[in-house]
C-alpha cells in the first residue's frame, strides 16, 4: 500500500536535483500492517527516564545522602575508626578527596582484598539506600495486568491509569540525581542525554496511518539513523533535518498501534530494541513494551515508552562511567545496584528465582525530520 507524503508547514513541492550517493524523490513508502496514506517522521530530541518527583514526602525515610556523606558511612562499614576517618577527611580536604577517594574506588572486598566496587558491586556491603515508598504517581503502564489491585502499583500522573508498574521510579526515586519531572529533568538523565545526543546515532520515528488527523490504526516504527542528532544553536533538537536510516535490523522496531484523540497507543506488546551507547545502556531492550505518543499541534511529538528492562543493563551504564560519575552525579553506585536488584519485578531467573528485569518507563520528545530509508526512499516531516 502506498503512502502519500504531506508536510507539516507548507507543501513541499521540491525536486532534489542531485544527491551525493542517492537520488531521492518524494515517493511512496511501503510499510507493512496498515492501509496507510499518510506518513510523518520525527527524530528523537530527548530520551530519558520518565520521572515524576514532586515532593520530598515521597521519601519518608529521607533523600539519600550525597557522596560526601555516603562515603563516610562507607568508611565506617569498612571498619575505619572515627579518628582514622577524621584524619583522612582532613587530609582529603587538602588533596581533592585524596585517600578517601582512593579507598572508595577499591571499597569492594573479595576474600578480604580490596576490589573494584563498580565492576563487582556485590563485593560491597549493601549501603541500603532509600527507595521511594511514599509516592503515589509514576509514569508508565500496567505491565503485569493486575490493575489497581497491584499493591505496589502507581498511578500515571498524565493518564491517571491505575496499576502502573514502574519499579525503577521507585528504586531511584529517593536518590537526588534521579529525582525530577518531565519538565524539570533529573540531573542524571539530563547529563546522560547531553552525552548521548552528540555521540550516538539519532533515533528516528516513522508514523503511518490512513489519516493522522483522525482516529484509526497506525504503525509506529523506530529506527536508528546513521548520523547524530542535529541541534539548534541553543542546544534544542533541530527540526526538519534529514536522516538516513541505518540498515542494521537490530534497531528496527515496527509497532502496530491505534490513534485516538491525537494519542497513539501501541496495541501489541512485544519486545523493543535500539542500540544506544555504553555510556547509558549499550543495547536498550524492553519486553512487554508499551508506548503512548502524543501528536502535538506544533508538529512535535512526545510520549512515554515503558516495559521490562534487564536491570543489569541499567546498572552497566553506571559502572561504565564510575568512579567520576559517582562523585559528580549519581551518588553511591553499588548502592544503585542493590536498589535495582531489590526492586526488580519481572523475569525471574529459573535457577535462583531472582528477578532479572525491572519495570521502567522513559519519556521521549521528537521533532519533525526527513527520513531516508535504507533503500533510498524519502519520508518527510512531522
Amino acid at each position: 500500500m502506498s503512502v502519500v507524503l504531506t508536510a507539516r508547514t507548507h507543501a513541499l513541492p521540491f525536486k532534489l536535483a542531485v544527491l551525493a550517493t542517492a537520488a531521492l524523490t518524494v515517493s511512496v513508502l511501503a510499510l507493512p500492517g496498515v492501509a496507510a496514506a499518510e506518513t510523518r517522521t520525527f527524530v528523537v530530541g530527548y530520551f530519558g527516564q520518565a520521572t515524576h518527583n514532586v515532593q520530598d514526602s515521597e521519601c519518608p525515610a529521607g533523600i539519600n545522602p550525597d557522596v560526601t556523606v555516603q562515603y563516610l558511612k562507607n568508611l565506617v562499614t569498612l571498619g575505619y575508626s572515627q579518628a582514622e576517618i577524621d584524619k583522612m577527611v582532613n587530609q582529603s580536604a587538602d588533596n581533592e578527596g585524596g585517600s578517601v577517594n582512593e579507598i572508595m574506588r577499591m571499597r569492594g572486598r573479595v576474600n578480604g582484598q580490596p576490589t573494584n566496587p563498580y565492576a563487582y558491586p556485590a563485593s560491597v556491603t549493601d549501603p541500603k539506600l532509600n527507595a521511594m515508598t511514599g509516592g503515589k504517581y509514576a509514569y508508565g503502564f500496567d505491565l503485569d495486568g493486575k490493575g489497581a489491585e497491584s499493591p505496589k502499583a502507581f498511578e500515571d500522573p498524565e493518564t491517571h491509569q491505575a496499576g502502573v508498574d514502574n519499579e525503577m521510579a521507585r528504586a531511584f526515586g529517593c536518590s537526588r540525581a534521579f529525582r525530577g519531572s518531565v519538565n524539570a529533568r533529573s540531573a542524571y538523565w539530563s547529563w546522560a542525554w547531553a552525552q548521548l545526543k552528540d555521540s550516538q546515532p539519532a533515533w528516528v520515528i516513522t508514523i503511518t496511518g490512513a489519516d493522522l488527523a483522525k482516529d484509526g490504526d497506525v504503525t509506529v516504527t523506530f529506527d536508528r539513523a546513521l548520523h547524530y542528532l542535529k541541534s539548534n544553536i541553543d542546544g534544542t533538537p533541530r527540526a526538519d533535518t534529514t536522516y538516513r536510516i541505518d540498515p542494521d535490523p537490530r534497531s528496527h522496531n515496527v509497532l502496530p498501534g491505534r490513534l485516538k484523540d491525537g494519542v497513539i497507543q501501541i496495541t501489541e506488546h512485544g519486545s523493543f530494541r535500539m542500540l544506544q551507547n555504553p555510556m547509558v545502556v549499550n543495547d536498550f531492550k524492553l519486553t512487554n513494551t508499551h508506548m503512548r505518543l502524543n501528536l502535538k499541534p506544533d508538529g512535535t511529538l512526545d510520549g512515554i515508552l515503558g516495559g521490562y528492562q534487564l536491570w543489569a543493563d541499567i546498572y552497566s551504564g553506571f559502572a561504565h562511567s564510575a568512579p567520576a560519575m559517582e562523585v559528580c552525579i549519581t551518588g553511591d553506585i553499588p548502592g544503585l545496584y542493590y536498589l535495582l536488584k531489590r526492586h526488580a519485578d519481572a523475569q525471574p531467573d529459573p535457577k535462583t528465582g531472582e528477578n532479572s528485569a525491572i519495570s521502567t518507563s522513559y519519556t521521549l520528545m521528537a521533532v519533525p525530520a526527513f527520513v531516508v530509508s535504507p533503500d533510498g526512499k524519502l519520508a518527510g516531516g512531522g
Partner: protein, 575 residues
C-alpha cells in the same frame, strides 16, 4: 648562541621613510620615471566626462589574495584589518575614501612580520626563495635582489625601480650583518615591503597619453591592476604584468586579449563573488545576530551557508550557464546544505561522516513554490531583518537601494517605531497592519509608500528566512505593487523586479562603480551605453564585464580644473 637582537623598528622606520610613497601628494616613483602626480592629469581620453584619479586601500580579501598568489595559500596572515567604509552602497567605493590609522598600521606591520617570518622559515625557504645565500650568517646582496625583485613585482604590481630595490637590498644587508643571519635580514626587508603604502594602497600612476598629446592616461601597470582587481579581486599575474611591460596592454588588441584570458580563467569566479559580496553587503553578516529563542535554527553556520548559497546561485546562473542577470530574481535553481535544508524545511541528506562539513547539493524549487530568486533566499531575508522579527521596511529599502539603485532617505529623527516593533501588539497582528498604523504619521508616509509594498511581499519569510503563512494567527497578505505593476507574493515580486528597467541599469552602475572605486555621475553617457549593451546582449554578466574592461570609458581621466601646463609639459618631455 642567541642571535644578536636587532632594533628592527628603527630600520623599518627608515625604510618606510625612504621607500614609502607620499600619499598626500599622490606621487609615485614609477619604473620609467614617467609618472606625474595624478592631479596633473590631462584631458579625458574619450568623449565622455572623465573620472577622478583615485587611490584605494586594498580590501582584506584583496590583501589575502595577493599574499596567497605570491607566497601560497598556506600563509597565515595573523592580524586584523582596518575597518572598511561603505560609500554609495559599496565598500569598493569607500576604499578610495579611507586612510590608515596608527593602530591599523600596527596591524599591517604585525601581518607583514608574520608573513615574512613564514616565507623565510627553514621549512619553507627552499620553495619560497629562488636562491640560497653564499653563507647563512652573512649578507648576500645578489640573492636578496633576486628574491625582492621577483616578489616585489607582484607585491607592488609593477617592477621595482632600481632605487627601491637597492634600498631593500641595503636594508637586508644591514640587518643580516647585525643579526648574523641572512634569512632574518631578508625577513626584515620583506616585511618592510609588505608594510609599504605602495602595496597597501592601489595608487594609479599617470603618464602622458601619446594618442592625445598634452594629456595624461593611467599607465599600463595601473591599468593591469585595475583589470585584475576588477575581474579577479587580486593583483595582476605575471602574464598581465608582462602585457603591461611590453606595452600590449595599451593596444586595443592586447587589452582585449588579456581581458579575454582573464574572463576565461576560473579566477573570474573570485572576482564575481567579490563584487556581489560587496554589492549585497554581506560583510554585515559579521554583525548579524538573531534571537536564539525566536530563531533557534539560525546558527553562524546557517549565516555562512546562506551567503554562500546566494553566491553559488549567482555564479551558477551567470558564469557557468551564462544566464540572464535578471533571472537571479526568479530562478528556482539553487544549492543547499543540510544546515540550510532545516531552515528551508526541505530534505537534504549528508552522507559524510558525523561532523564532516556539509556538502553542497544542487536543489530546485518546484514551479509553484513560493520561493524563487535570491530575494527569497535566507541571505537576503535574514540580513535585512532585526534580531527578533522580519522587517518589510528594511527589506523594501534594500530592494530599492541595492537592486534598483534608488536612494531612500533616512527616517526622521523624532519618529516613533513603537507600533512597528511591537510584534505582539494586541490590535495590529501583522506587520502590514502595524506599518499601516505607523505610516499614518505624516512624516513617515512618503518613504513607507515606496518601500513597504516590496518588503511586505517578503513577509512570508520570518526574520531568519523561514517560510510562514501567518503572523500571530493572522494570514499574511503579500500583495502590493512596484511602480504601478501589481504582484502578490515573493515569487511574483521577483518577476516584477526581473522586468523592471532599473534592475539591469542598477547592476551596470554598481559594477562600474565597484570597478572604478567611485560613484559615477548621474546620466553618465558611458554608463548608458554600457546599459544598452547589456540589454542587447542578453544581460550576460561576463559580456558586460568585458565591455566595461575593454572600453575607453573604463580608463578615462578627468582633466584638472587648473592644469599647471609647465609641469605637465615637463613631465611629458621626460617621457
Amino acid at each position: 648562541m642567541r642571535p644578536t637582537p636587532i632594533n628592527f623598528s628603527k630600520v623599518r622606520f627608515a625604510l618606510a621613510l625612504g621607500l614609502g610613497a607620499s600619499l598626500a601628494a599622490c606621487t609615485v616613483d614609477a619604473p620609467k620615471s614617467a609618472a606625474v602626480p595624478a592631479v596633473l592629469a590631462g584631458a579625458a581620453n574619450v568623449g565622455v566626462p572623465g573620472l577622478e584619479p583615485i587611490t584605494r586601500r586594498l580590501t582584506p580579501e584583496q590583501y589575502e589574495n595577493v599574499i596567497a598568489d605570491v607566497f601560497g595559500p598556506a600563509i597565515i596572515l595573523g592580524g586584523r584589518f582596518e575597518p572598511e567604509m561603505r560609500v554609495g552602497g559599496l565598500l569598493a567605493v569607500g576604499s578610495s575614501a579611507v586612510s590608515m590609522t596608527a593602530t591599523g598600521m600596527e596591524q599591517y606591520d604585525v601581518m607583514a612580520r608574520k608573513i615574512a617570518a613564514q616565507v623565510v622559515d627553514e621549512s619553507q625557504r627552499k620553495m619560497m626563495i629562488p636562491c640560497a645565500p653564499a653563507a647563512a650568517n652573512a649578507p648576500d646582496d645578489a640573492c636578496v635582489a633576486k628574491f625582492m625583485g621577483k616578489v616585489g613585482r607582484l607585491i607592488y604590481r609593477r617592477p621595482l625601480t632600481q632605487t627601491e630595490l637597492a634600498a631593500y637590498v641595503t636594508a637586508a644587508h644591514a640587518a643580516t650583518e647585525k643579526a648574523g643571519d641572512f634569512h632574518r635580514g631578508l625577513s626584515l626587508s620583506l616585511s618592510a615591503m609588505l608594510s609599504s603604502p605602495k602595496f597597501l594602497f592601489r595608487q594609479e600612476t599617470l603618464e602622458p597619453d601619446p594618442r592625445n598629446p598634452g594629456t595624461m592616461r593611467i599607465d599600463a601597470y595601473a591599468k593591469a591592476a585595475r583589470l585584475s582587481f576588477f575581474l579577479w579581486n587580486a593583483g595582476p599575474d605575471q602574464a598581465l604584468l608582462a602585457a603591461a611591460e611590453s606595452g600590449a596592454l595599451n593596444t586595443a588588441k592586447g587589452l582585449a586579449g588579456e581581458v579575454d584570458r582573464m574572463l576565461a580563467s576560473p579566477r573570474l569566479e573570485t572576482g564575481v563573488r567579490a563584487f556581489f559580496t560587496d554589492n549585497f553587503g554581506f560583510d554585515e553578516f559579521a554583525l548579524l545576530t538573531k534571537d536564539v529563542v525566536l530563531f533557534p535554527k539560525f546558527s553562524p553556520r546557517v549565516a555562512a551557508d546562506a551567503q554562500e548559497q546566494t553566491l553559488k546561485t549567482i555564479v551558477d546562473l551567470l558564469l557557468k550557464n551564462r544566464g540572464d542577470y535578471r533571472d537571479v530574481f526568479t530562478t528556482k535553481k539553487t544549492f543547499m546544505t543540510q544546515e540550510l535544508g532545516a531552515v528551508y524545511r526541505v530534505p537534504v541528506i549528508n552522507d559524510g561522516p558525523n561532523g564532516a562539513p556539509d556538502a553542497w547539493q544542487p536543489f530546485e524549487f518546484s514551479a509553484d513554490d513560493p520561493r524563487g530568486g535570491i530575494l527569497t533566499q535566507v541571505a537576503f531575508t535574514s540580513l535585512h531583518s532585526p534580531p527578533g522579527r522580519g522587517s518589510p521596511t528594511l527589506r523594501g529599502k534594500a530592494l530599492r537601494e541595492v537592486i534598483l539603485c534608488q536612494k531612500v532617505p533616512a527616517p526622521p529623527a523624532a519618529v516613533s517605531f513603537n507600533i512597528v516593533q511591537d510584534t505582539h501588539h494586541p490590535i495590529y497582528k501583522t506587520a502590514r497592519e502595524r506599518l499601516t498604523a505607523h505610516a499614518t504619521e505624516s512624516m513617515c508616509t512618503g518613504c513607507h509608500k515606496i518601500i513597504d509594498p516590496m518588503g511586505l511581499a517578503l513577509e512570508n519569510f520570518d526574520g531568519a528566512g523561514a517560510y510562514r503563512t501567518t503572523e500571530n494567527g493572522q494570514p499574511i497578505n503579500t500583495s502590493g505593487a512596484l511602480d504601478g505593476v501589481p504582484f502578490d507574493g515573493a515569487a511574483k515580486l521577483g518577476q516584477v523586479i526581473h522586468d523592471h528597467p532599473a534592475t539591469s541599469a542598477c547592476l551596470v552602475n554598481r559594477l562600474a562603480s565597484y570597478a572604478l572605486g567611485q560613484q559615477l555621475p548621474a546620466g553618465d553617457a558611458w554608463l548608458k551605453d554600457s546599459t544598452a549593451f547589456f540589454a542587447t546582449n542578453g544581460y550576460r554578466l561576463a559580456d558586460l564585464m568585458r565591455r566595461l574592461a575593454t572600453s575607453d570609458g573604463f580608463y578615462r581621466l578627468k582633466p584638472p580644473a587648473e592644469a599647471p601646463k609647465a609641469q605637465s609639459a615637463s613631465a611629458a618631455s621626460a617621457q
